[in-house]
Amino acid sequence: MADKYLELVNHGGPKKLAKALGLPRPAILRRYTSGDPLIPGPLLLLGDSAQASAASELLLGWGLDVRRHALAGEKLGAIVLMLDDAATPADLSEPMLAAGAALRRLLPGGRVLSFSRPAAEADTPGSAAVRQGIDGAVRSLGRELRGGATANGVVLHAGLGIDAPSAAAALRFLLSGRSAYVDGQFLHVDSDAGVLPVDGEKPLAGKVAVVTGAARGIGAAIARTLHRDGATVVVVDVPAAGDALAKVANEVRGTALQLDITRPDAGRVIVEHARSRHGSLDIVIHNAGITRDKLLANMDAARWDSVIAVNLESQLRMNDAFLAAGLPGLRIVSLASTSGIAGNRGQANYAASKGGVIGMVAASAQAFARAGGGINAVAPGFIETDMTARIPLATRTVARMLMPSLMQGGLPLDVAEAIGFLASDAAAGINGRTLRVCGQSLVGA
């Protein structure tokens, strides 16, 4: 399952050889462990927009070394680009070139992060142009980065400043090792909802979370991550996977609920279990999913329908039950996929279900917001799991190395970290959105 190539080219002799031959050398990514500094070095804050000084204060408040100008020869842990005031295409020149001049000094695992405004809310074509241009510029910059460094952006919607809780939380998430495999993405902050955690190490303390499909792979990683972050976790999977599920439940000191989520009463059973056994239901992660790949030309109804039933219809039905149950502040995160955005040969059914999740999440945002909660999705790219380990080696190697900027597949943990962030109260200002965790894969946007 592990990426042997990645291990090989990062150690000893093979490392030198790979370097000499000019072979791609994917880096070992900087991933979060408790107690780590937020970033590996000083932070360069570029641009003098309206939000720049607020950003500076925020970052200093986190104990970071913030530079407004790069010191000669100093290595950098992150570059933050304040582009929220950019009004014409010409406004991009100075900050982008300044960032460019500093790029080579970015440490391994460094971060480049932009703050901008949504193009859709622009008053003039020029303003829309520069805002849209920022997306292209930051994504391109991301493809130049090496050493596991990433480039992402936070998009502040009208009237929101960096002091909006979710803006600060998004900034922190994207700077940290929790976002190791999030690259070339823009997190939209829609409102000033949200509360920053009292304890940054336990952002989900006191929360009761349900994770479907938790017996293995990404679902098990999600359960572990939510537990690490302080949540009480109910792990759900089909009865036939109950033994693996029990192991996960015992590991995260939660409870195992053997349940087929396509049952009409699945939502009610989940609510009842969480409420009666743990007192509330605060977070639901719709992770359970199946693939039944086949070229559409050869697809039968059983393959098509079962994938739609498990991956999409069950979620729609459960969400209705959750809304009906009146769960205050319920936060939902659904698993989409880059296949649902870009399409994938032989996966028309799967892509329909995962694209469907993205649509469902956008359309359900208001309903959940009315109850004080929210719903978002995470779209993984190529993740190293038992499922992807079954892909033929050559295809797998191409998928994991050549497509993403980071030249490697992600780990289940990387998906789990993004889910943990979106499930937290700090992310309440982000609603109806889909965040890709794809290492800036070429497929789709």
Binding site: P239, A246, K247, N250, R253, L257, Q258, D260, R277
Partner: protein
């Protein structure tokens, strides 16, 4: 402590069945052939821990056991507990009462809870006929013991010189009763014959067992009672598609000495099975404090034994005697129940027991009653199937039945259920559960 302080007497309080867990039962020599008793009991316990979030918790006591036990299975239950996510501060003890092991373990824990000695308990059992212990021959055992005591080369040689090739033949456990040499099935065949139980009646009971168990699976009844194990998610003995015709074709397997009158086949007798089951019990306070469900009260239980050696009674008829005593003590009649769980060691056992309770001669002369206990509503009998379909890993059967019945009663929301489990050695344990 001051001498004049008197501890107030403690009353009896309810013991509550919170839930259960078992691994699917597998036919002997099948999927669990390489699993030990300890492996299976640990798996059953860990599934229970996961279902109820008991990780790291100290349970008042864990009791259980196995019928077929290796010498190395010393302290089997405690060793199993140490392999689970439960707190290692949880005490555990072994029980052995043949097929009634699980019932006796659960009943004794319920008593401790009722008396206020413990707040929580886990009872159950495990058995494997696939991984059965095989002892060395008496001759070889004697030589090996002499050898271990020998202190000189000469003494060792002397001990070894007694060895003969025939000593290598192992002494495998048989299914025969030690005092009669008859197998359990052959014993029951005599009882079945004595009560004139027909082949057709036995096959009908077996068919109902398979159909009821299959229907229970279909309605997801076992989703929160079972945790898969070694790739098995359903009892492997279950034949959802069996028919009266198929059962009628089987040749007699027991009581062959009866010739034409032999009625017991592999279809209406339980096969040898591997598996484990456990039940979580607690006081009401314990259940409330831990936000755990309360499915049923474990009201009372009673053990019985009969003199089968001299032929005064059938080997598996002890429950027929224990039930009237339990009913009398609790002021109930045989008809005061919503569910009856009569362990299907053999279809003939269930039918012989029911026939005995209906028989005025038996009830007067053997039970000392004024009138027969009477009939039961057969639609309330083993409604989710029983051992004929699920299988019967001896010590694990009590846990299966208690958990199943407690859930059934809780679903119904009222009423009570009667449990009857017969056992080798002419013993049996019966019990009453009440819905919550």
């Amino acid at each position: 402590m001051a001498n004049n302080t008197q501890v107030p007497p403690r009353g009896i309080r309810p013991a509550v069945v919170i839930g259960g867990n078992r691994i699917p039962f597998a036919r002997s020599g099948g999927a669990y052939a390489k699993a030990s008793n300890q492996d299976m009991l640990t798996a059953a316990l860990d599934g229970l821990v996961a279902r109820f979030g008991l990780q790291g918790q100290r349970i008042g006591a864990v009791a259980g056991g196995a019928v077929l036990k290796h010498a190395k299975d010393f302290n089997l239950v405690r060793e199993s507990v140490l392999g689970t996510a439960l707190s290692p501060d949880t005490p555990a003890y072994d029980v052995q009462m043949a097929c009634a092991t699980g019932m006796e373990a659960i009943g004794s824990l319920a008593n401790k809870i009722m008396l206020g000695q413990i707040e929580s308990g886990i009872g159950g059992g495990v058995d494997t006929t696939s991984d059965a212990p095989i002892a060395v021959s008496e001759g070889l055992r004697s030589i090996l013991l002499d050898l271990s005591r020998a202190r000189s080369a000469g003494a060792r040689l002397s001990a070894l010189s007694k060895f003969r090739p025939r000593d290598l033949a192992p002494d495998a456990p048989g299914t025969g009763e030690p005092r009669t040499g008859l197998s359990m099935g052959d014993h029951q065949a005599l009882t079945t014959r004595a009560w004139n139980i027909t082949r057709q009646a036995q096959d009908e009971l077996a068919l109902a067992s398979h159909q009821n168990l299959a229907a229970a699976y279909d309605r997801h009844f076992f989703d929160d009672l079972m945790t898969p194990y070694r790739g098995v998610a359903r009892d492997t003995n279950l034949r959802a598609d069996t028919t009266a015709q198929k059962l009628a074709k089987l040749k007699p397997a027991f009581g062959k000495s009866l010739g034409e009158a032999a009625t017991m086949t592999a279809g209406n007798s339980t096969p040898l099975t591997d598996g484990a089951s456990v039940v979580l019990l607690g006081s009401e306070d314990y259940a409330r404090a831990n936000d755990l469900p309360m499915l049923a009260n474990f009201v009372d239980f009673e053990a019985g034994a009969v003199d089968f050696v001299k032929g005064a009674e059938g080997l598996l008829m002890a429950p027929a005697y224990a039930v009237p005593r339990l009913l009398a003590r609790n002021g109930l009649t045989l008809q005061d129940f919503d569910f009856y769980e009569i362990h299907e060691a053999f279809a003939g056992t269930v039918l012989s027991t029911l026939a005995a309770w209906e028989d005025s001669d038996f009830c007067q002369n053997k039970l000392g009653l004024d009138a027969p206990l009477g009939s039961i509503d057969r639609t309330k009998l083993n409604v989710n199937g029983s051992s004929l379909a699920a299988g019967h890993p001896f010590a694990a059967t009590g846990g299966r039945i208690v958990a199943t019945l407690a859930k059934l009663l809780h679903e119904k929301g009222s009423g009570r259920g009667l449990i009857s489990v017969c056992a080798a050695g002419g013993q049996g344990v019966v019990a009453i559960l009440e819905a919550r």
